[in-house]
Symmetry: C2
Subunit: 112 residues, 2 copies
């Protein structure tokens, strides 16, 4: 078996969890200054409180650009960009989007 086929076989044996939502909170320096850490902390806490710890994964992502609008975050698989996501907006995102399954139109950025 080739080295490459071996590594693929190994990968396939490792099961990954199928999350309902995967949230990426920008950890760029500007977003950090604008409160991204508090937003992430609030997300983690609200997600836990909503009983979604196994359904929702929250990670930090490198600079997403659009720095001056931060703190920014993206939720997949919907591909929703939340720009200027404040700590106070987090419960609405958790309830409406992560629990309810619908991006929060009031907070979601439009696509060009």
């Amino acid at each position: 078996m080739s080295k490459s086929a071996k590594s693929a076989t190994k990968a396939k044996r490792v099961g990954v969890r199928a999350y309902d939502s995967h949230v990426f909170v920008c950890s760029g320096s500007v977003c950090k200054k604008r409160g991204a850490k508090d937003v992430r902390k609030a997300l983690k806490s609200e997600v836990k409180e909503a009983g979604l710890r196994r359904e929702v994964r929250i990670d930090s992502v490198g600079c997403l650009g659009l720095c001056k609008h931060g703190p920014n975050a993206i939720v997949y698989p919907s591909g929703t960009w939340y720009l200027g996501l404040k700590e106070r907006d987090v419960p609405e995102v958790v309830e409406g989007h992560l629990l309810g399954g619908e991006p929060v139109a009031r907070l979601a950025a439009d696509f060009r």
Copy 2:
């Protein structure tokens, strides 16, 4: 207008690009040691070469776990986890998945 409504209005005026694919390459310390930087570099270069620079976004993500299988990466919106993604596998992912639209079954992890 409330402060919160103002910030939402501002976010909505900023257009974000609708990418076909968004790749998150793990930048955790173990994945880094296992070559994640080279994988990311190869991805950027191959994506550019394939003329997909506007269609595909590549970012770094904080530790995704499953460290011993790294370098790891996820591609959205399909939510495909590639574990143990080697530099030599990158052309196949770019051609098959990012250009062709189909996750590369040989390299994609199964879901539990």
